[in-house]
């Protein structure tokens, strides 16, 4: 299946990418994270070693055990600082 992944703010800058479409077998956000972090230390550090990492699936706050579906929009971002 395909998922559309978005990166925001400091994560976007650290990873040098704002958006990608990935073909994956990951059933959950957690499995998708493992797949992304296997790309190298930069990904490991920004995503898997980041205790403050926030995530959303289809624009709703998600967790590592949130399920993915084909065509899902997955977003990773740091804690929000608006207002």
């Amino acid at each position: 299946m395909n998922v559309n992944i978005l990166y925001f703010a400091s994560l976007r800058e650290q990873l040098g990418t704002a958006q990608e479409t990935l073909t994956t077998e990951a059933a959950t956000v957690g499995a998708l994270l493992e797949e992304l972090c296997s790309r190298g230390p930069q990904w490991q550090q920004a995503l898997c070693d980041n205790p403050h990492l926030q995530m959303a699936v289809d624009q709703t706050v998600a967790h590592r055990d949130t399920s993915l579906r084909d065509g899902a929009e997955v977003a990773f971002f740091p804690p929000v600082t608006g207002g």
């Binding site: 804690p79 929000v80 600082t81 608006g82 207002g83």
Partner: protein, 152 residues
């Protein structure tokens, strides 16, 4: 985007927005507004400009959910949330939350609730330009604590 939740680059006028919020509702006795503005100093450093990034789509969804929750918890006649994005200067307006109710306690509490939830749940991120270069603003523990007091 809902009529009462807006994400925009343009500035807003407080009187105009409050007039719109109150229009034709003679049962309103109390209007509370919160305006967040850009300070020229943050964490000890001079701030020259501020850039506000957001997650288009999720932002509006999150703000609408926060507004709906405020209307469930308090007796409100109306409410409004406007949040700006893009580059901002010191003293610029960033955010407006306005609540209207019959009695003042509802308007006050709902406005505080919306701000506390917005600060911790709406996907906006601030980047400051300081003399030492750009930096992403850190989330504040005090904002997390403020939001937690509304947990049921």
């Amino acid at each position: 985007m809902s009529e009462w939740v807006r994400v925009q680059t343009e500035d807003f006028d407080l009187s105009t927005e409050v007039a719109r919020l109150r229009a034709g509702r003679a049962d309103i006795g109390a209007v509370v507004t919160f305006v967040g503005t850009v300070r020229d100093i943050n964490q000890g450093d001079t701030v020259a400009t501020l850039e506000l990034e957001h997650y288009p789509g999720m932002t509006e969804k999150a703000l609408n959910e926060i507004r709906d929750e405020a209307h469930r918890r308090w007796h409100l006649e109306n409410s409004l949330i406007i949040h700006r994005v893009g580059p901002l200067q010191p003293q610029d307006q960033i955010v407006l939350v306005a609540t209207a109710s019959r009695h003042r306690q509802d308007a006050f509490e709902a406005a505080q609730f919306i701000m506390d939830y917005l600060k911790t749940r709406a996907p906006f991120w601030k980047k400051e330009q300081t003399p030492d270069g750009p930096r992403w603003v850190d989330a504040r523990d005090s904002d997390r604590a403020a939001a937690e007091r509304w947990s049921q």
